[in-house]
């Protein structure tokens, strides 16, 4: 019984935190965009504009709900629903912290530590592509369809390189469970030092998977009006935009836990604090890392221009994948050499 209550609380907290962080990412995005361009950004709603996400949410809800006459109504509604659902599902396997000891029982601060956690994330993210594709298809609009086609081909292309970058990581860690991978990185044994090339590949692919600049072709306003969500309005559009920010948060969390030690930080054992305090401290550190990567996503967005479509495909298939394969080969050789197979 207690187990179920703890898990339930954890699920609710993770859900609310992802929604809250996604909402405030929109605010952060606008503020950071403004600061990087020597502007002030939203500052009218509340102190420093902190209520801006609330105002945006109210605006989204109050807008007229339009379903185009020629759109396929069922699929039109299904699109954003899938997008939102898959975005919220990925947070399940992320280890938000070490373990909490309540009444003598140890509970991991992770909803569930699947032994195939990474595969689970890849699976769920792949379903997310359907959200975009179905939405773009159901809109019955050429720009939406274009955006959807671009999005799906881009996401499929980059998923390959991303998966291969992960394979190299799995070869060194020997496990697919994210909780286990984080545990192995205790102290400063972060995977980014073991797999620098893999990390670069992974982060570039993460940008492409999240449809963030410089890979934001699915919704490039200059060519496609709005991209796959051209025909969407009101909260259905809100869901698409919101899901994107949740995805950004989750991919930052994945980058932080796979390559930057998750909740681990140096000298964690020398502090001599109680276990639960250490866990909370680790969770804070983890969120600090996540926020840095969210900031990095935005920082890159306001630095780099968008790729051309052929450049995008060129980078995906002729640069990322060969590099990922090379990384796998290199890792394999090093792992074998360390195991003494060459002696």
């Amino acid at each position: 019984m207690e187990f179920i209550i703890v898990k339930f609380v954890l699920v609710v907290v993770v859900f609310l935190v992802s929604l809250g962080i996604a909402a405030y990412s929109t605010y952060a995005e606008r503020k950071i965009a403004a600061f990087l361009q020597d502007r002030v950004g939203p500052d009218r709603a509340g102190p420093f504009g902190l209520l801006q996400p609330v105002a945006d949410g109210v605006k989204m809800f109050m807008k007229e709900e339009i379903i185009p006459t020629h759109a396929d109504k069922g699929l039109f509604i299904l699109g954003p629903s899938i997008m939102m659902m898959t975005a919220c599902m990925t947070g399940v396997v992320i280890p938000w912290g070490s373990t909490l000891i309540i009444n003598g029982t140890e509970y991991p601060v992770q909803i569930t530590d699947l032994n195939i956690g990474i595969l689970y994330i890849f699976g769920v993210v792949s379903i997310g592509v359907y959200g975009i594709m179905i939405g773009g298809w159901a809109s019955n609009n050429k720009y939406s369809l274009m955006g959807a086609i671009r999005a799906s081909s881009q996401m499929i292309s980059y998923e390959l390189a991303m998966g291969m970058a992960i394979i190299a990581l799995v070869m060194t860690t020997g496990t697919l469970s994210i909780g286990e991978i984080v545990k192995q990185q205790q102290g400063m044994h972060w995977n980014v030092f073991v797999q620098p090339l893999g990390f670069v590949l992974f982060i570039v692919c993460a940008f492409a998977e999240c449809n963030r600049t410089p890979f934001d072709l699915p919704e490039c306003e200059t060519e496609l009006v709005g991209g796959y969500h051209t025909e969407y309005s009101s909260m259905k559009l809100g869901f698409y935009l919101f899901a994107e920010y949740i995805n950004m948060f989750i991919s930052s969390a994945i980058i932080a836990s796979l390559y930057f030690g998750g909740y681990n930080f140096p000298f964690i054992d020398q502090l001599g604090l109680p276990h639960n305090v250490l866990t909370l401290l680790g969770t804070l550190i983890f969120f600090g890392k996540v926020f840095f990567f969210i900031f990095f996503f935005m920082w890159v967005r306001w630095t780099l221009p968008r790729f051309r479509y052929d450049q995008l495909m060129h980078v995906g298939w002729r640069v990322m994948i060969p590099l990922a394969l090379f990384n796998i080969l290199l890792t394999a050789v090093i792992v074998l050499w360390q195991n003494g197979q060459f002696n």
Binding site: Q37, D38, V40, W299, V300, W302, T303
Partner: protein
């Protein structure tokens, strides 16, 4: 003919390996944007913060009163004639007995309207005025939601009688003086 020294000869050169890595370029770009994060903001938060304007700034008009609080305007119509945008219209009326404290001379403007959407703030009305009645001030025309609100009548143009309701035009008038 070369006009500036900014032109660059375009060469279709092959990129070096370092350039094809893109990362040095991306990192230098990131550093540039990061520097901007700490730069001074260029924004002027308008209603709270007003940018300084020139002393002779030509903003919203004012219809002046004299020292005794009487309207200077005699509805001669020279400003309306001078106005290149044809923004000024007025109706003249004769001063009745007992109105000497309101209007300086026997004739006054019963209606005086400036269409602020037509006005180009050139200041020719001020130059044409023989009675020192109309002046442009450093106030800024407020925004509005419909066209009718942009036709400013006497209620918005004439300054108040009390000392603190008077609108200061000394900066602009002094700037014109040469002595």
């Amino acid at each position: 003919m070369q006009l500036t020294n900014r032109s660059e000869v375009v060469v279709n050169k092959v990129m070096t390996f370092k350039e094809r890595l893109y990362f040095p370029a991306i990192i230098s770009g990131l550093i540039i944007t990061m520097k901007h994060l700490f730069k001074k903001r260029a924004t002027v938060k308008y209603p709270e913060e007003i940018r300084p304007v020139a002393p002779i700034y030509r903003g919203l008009h004012v219809l002046k009163r004299d020292e005794q609080g009487r309207e200077n305007c005699t509805a001669c119509g020279l400003c309306a004639v001078a106005c290149p945008a044809e923004a000024i219209t007025m109706t003249a009326a004769e001063r009745k007995k007992g109105e000497e404290n309101l209007y300086r001379e026997e004739k006054y403007a019963a209606v005086y309207e400036i269409n602020m959407l037509r006005c180009i703030f050139c200041g020719l009305c001020e130059e044409a005025c023989p009675k020192e009645a109309i002046f442009l001030t450093d106030r800024i025309l407020p925004s509005g939601l419909n066209r009718a609100n942009f036709i400013f009548g006497k209620d918005k143009l004439v300054e108040g009688v009390s000392n603190d309701a008077r609108i200061d035009i000394s900066k602009r008038t002094n700037a014109h003086r040469t002595d």
